[in-house]
Structures are given as structure tokens and as C-alpha cells.
Point group: C2
Chain length 264, copies 2
């Protein structure tokens, strides 16, 4: 395996990094020898993370920052801490969604979701990509979702935000090739995180979703086996097969209808 610390740098910034998929990402980075700057909206999750990480990775320096990504100014607080350290890795894990028809969410609700999935994401990317390009090394792992590939009726803002994240990360991955930056967008199907389990649809749709699910740990294991080798990566056998089918056998309208029926 690549020596991450030598190749990318000392500290990894993980946004939404204290629980679920974020915790699995942070742990994997600690396992690869990096120190951590972990941002999470929950102080409780951060405290739990600090305790468990101290036990599991006693040599890992853990800096925690409480911050809610719906706040348009939150990144400044994060930059003020991280700019004093040598940062070589970024993972933007946090995501926000609200179910409902597009018009049933107010503009302020849309904007609140956009702050998490789009506006603070690009603010974060602009800041760290600049640092990584200047120092000539860095790694970026961002998360997208199949809903970003298909569209997501009744969850439109989330799906569109995930499409945005995927597109930006792919562009940076190409642009960064000549600057020592490895970037990957990992597109996930159903990941069995606390948020996911809470929001699954009921009945048969819920059962179907559950069956497709992967744990955060399996997700992250597969990602890190492929990190640095590919820019756009679909995680898991089922998502890979689904995307292939969507691209080759179905129209985009059929695919959108397939996704729409999950939350109807």
C-alpha cells in the first residue's frame, strides 16, 4: 500500500468525520499513519471519536472542531485551525438532505442544504486544492451517491448536490494530475450509516434498500484499495452493476422513474 503520510502530507481534514462513513474514513486515514483534523456538527460524536481513536490509534494526533456545515461562515473557523498545520489530505463526507417535492421545501431550506452540499464544499475545495497545488502534494477523497448519477425525485436537492460534488471532484482529479494531487470521487449505493438507517423507506422498498447496503468499513476498505488509481469510482458490486445497466440498457427517464418510485 502507498505510504499515505509520505506521499500526501501529515494531517488529513475530514469534514463530517466523527461518525458513520466519516468515522470509517478518519480511521482508515489514521491507519495509514495520518494525523487528523476532524470536523463534525455533534460535540458528542467528536468526544466519542476522540476517546475511541486514542485507544485504537494512540500515535494519531486528533484535533476536533465542532462546526455545522449549514453555517456559511463555518469554513473560516476550520481554516483558522488547519492552516497552522501541514495538511495533505481532504475528505468531504458530510451531506444534508430533506425529503419532499422540490416546491414543498422553502428556498431557505434549499439554501441550507446547498450550504452543506455545494457552497461550503466548493469553499473547502478551493482552499485545500490551492494549498495542495502550491506544496505539490495532496490527496482528496469526496463522496457522491448513485442519486447524483440518476437524479433523485422527492430528494432532488440532495441528488443534485451529489452530482455537483462528483463533477467538481472529477475536474480537480484531472487538473491535479500534473500537480501531485490524487483526487477521487467515490460514488456509493446504500451505505448502512446511522443517517441511512433512519431514513430508509418502509415496506418492500425499505427491505430492498437494506439488502443492497454496505457497511461504512467495507465501503472504505474498497475505496482505499483503489485510491490513487482511478478518479471516478463506484463502490460495491451492486452499484457497479446498476450503473452499467443504467448506462447501457435504460433511458435516463426510465432510470429517474426507477429512483422516483423508492420514495413515492
Amino acid at each position: 500500500m502507498t505510504d499515505f503520510k509520505e506521499k500526501y502530507g501529515q494531517y488529513a481534514v475530514v469534514i463530517g468525520g466523527a461518525a458513520g462513513l466519516g468515522k470509517a474514513t478518519s480511521y482508515k486515514l489514521a491507519d495509514n499513519g495520518l494525523d487528523l483534523i476532524v470536523v463534525d456538527r455533534s460535540q458528542e460524536y467528536l468526544d466519542q471519536f476522540r476517546t475511541s481513536c486514542a485507544k485504537d490509534y494512540p500515535n494519531c494526533d486528533v484535533i476536533t472542531i465542532q462546526g455545522n456545515l449549514t453555517d456559511p461562515n463555518v469554513m473560516d473557523k476550520i481554516f483558522a485551525v488547519s492552516d497552522k498545520k501541514s495538511v495533505g489530505f481532504l475528505s468531504y463526507v458530510v451531506a444534508f438532505h430533506k425529503f419532499g417535492k422540490l416546491q414543498d421545501l422553502s428556498f431557505d431550506e434549499h439554501l441550507s442544504i446547498l450550504n452543506v452540499n455545494v457552497i461550503n464544499f466548493i469553499k473547502c475545495m478551493q482552499h485545500y486544492v490551492k494549498i495542495f497545488a502550491e506544496q505539490g502534494h495532496g490527496g482528496i477523497l469526496n463522496y457522491s451517491s448513485l442519486t447524483g448519477v440518476t437524479t433523485s425525485p422527492y430528494n432532488a436537492e440532495y441528488g443534485a448536490g451529489k452530482a455537483y460534488i462528483k463533477s467538481i471532484t472529477q475536474a480537480v482529479a484531472y487538473e491535479g494530475e500534473k500537480e501531485g494531487i490524487d483526487a477521487m470521487v467515490a460514488t456509493l449505493g446504500v451505505t448502512l450509516t446511522p443517517t441511512e438507517l433512519k431514513n430508509q423507506p418502509g415496506g418492500e422498498a425499505g427491505a430492498a434498500v437494506q439488502k443492497m447496503g454496505m457497511t461504512p468499513e467495507d465501503t472504505v476498505d474498497e475505496i482505499f484499495e483503489n485510491f490513487g488509481k482511478v478518479h471516478s469510482y463506484y463502490v460495491g458490486d451492486h452499484p457497479k452493476a446498476q450503473v452499467k445497466k443504467w448506462k447501457t440498457e435504460m433511458t435516463e427517464d426510465e432510470v429517474a422513474a426507477y429512483m422516483g418510485r423508492f420514495y413515492e
Copy 2:
């Protein structure tokens, strides 16, 4: 052809509707019997539009609004006018881009682009989709780009915004089916608008781009032949063939590299 006015409503709001692709869209809607509320950042384009439309469609009521979509408050000015009319159609044509590596644009520059391509877009959609759903009829035609399908290195914010617009419009198209709303996202290849001609790459890449181009009028003719029949529509033979090839024969990394080489 569908009677647009009877099916969708009296006025069409066309954002960025006075020149290029926007003018072609406005003209096509006038040709289908709708009255127009045309928004553009250029008062000169608006004046020219008013003059030529009065000549070509003397029965069309044209309301013009000068507004720059980089302004986060511009939609309020538009709503104040359009809410006094019976609006049945929306077309969001305006788009903004700046070339350069992601980190070479400041966050404020990214935010300025986001205001046009994402934030004011969703504000606009939320407002009119709500009206259309309440009245039980409406049509929506939004524009995306192949760069929203592939990613767009050195033009990342634009490509990601176009991916966002495509995803949102597809979701609304599905959600709106039961509410009398027809929505389409038309994904364009190279369209020979004044902006496009100004921004083409030089040399062989520029010549290749030019050869693929379609006029705004041909673009809009093809779209309106398919409006109401399909939600996600690729305009032109060349884009249709490209997307098919990208989906079936190339990896996403290969497709991104293909797009990246245009502006390298």
C-alpha cells in the same frame, strides 16, 4: 403541435432570454402563442429584443426586466413583476462560467458563478414549480450541457452547475407528472451563440468544436418537437452519439480526460 398557451398558461418567463439561445427560446414560445417576461442582464439586448419581437410577433405582449443573475436578490425583482401575471412556462437559459483551474478562481468568483447556475436557479424553480403545481399546469424547459454529463476540467464550476441543473430538472419532471407539469432538461453540445463563439479554444480544438456546433434556432426547433414527450433530452445527432459512446465504450476517467484536453 400542442397548443402551448392552452396547455401551460399565458406568460412564459425566460431568464437570459434576450439574445442567443435565450432569444431563440423566447421566439419559439412567442411563436407558440405565449406572452413573454424576458429577463436579461443587458438593457441593450432587451431593447433590441423588444423591437424585433414587436415586428415579428405583434400580438405578443413582451415585458422586459433588466437583472443580473449574479445578484443574490435579483429573483425578488422578477417575482414582483411576474406574480401579477398568469405564468405558465419557465425557461432558465442563463449560465455563467470562468475558465481556469479550480483553485485559481477565488471563492467569491465561485460564489458569483454559483449565484447564476445554482442558487438563483433553485430559487427560481422553487417559486414557479410551486405556482405551476398549485394551478395544475405549467411547462419548464431548462438547459444543461455535455460538460454537466462528463465534468469539465478548467471549467469545473460551469460543468458542475450544469450537472446540478440537469439533476434538479429531471427530479421535477418526474415529480410534476402527476401535477400537470411538463419539464424537460435539454442537454446541448456546442451551440453557436455569441458567448460560445467568443470562448472557443484556438487551433485544432477550436476548429473541432466549431464543426460540432448547432445554431440556437436549430437547437430550439428540435427541442420543441420533443417537449412534453421526454424529460431528459440530448439535442443534435452528434451529442446523442457522443453520450452513447461515453456511456457504453469509455470509462468516466477517459471521458473526463477527453473533455480536459479541449482547454488544456
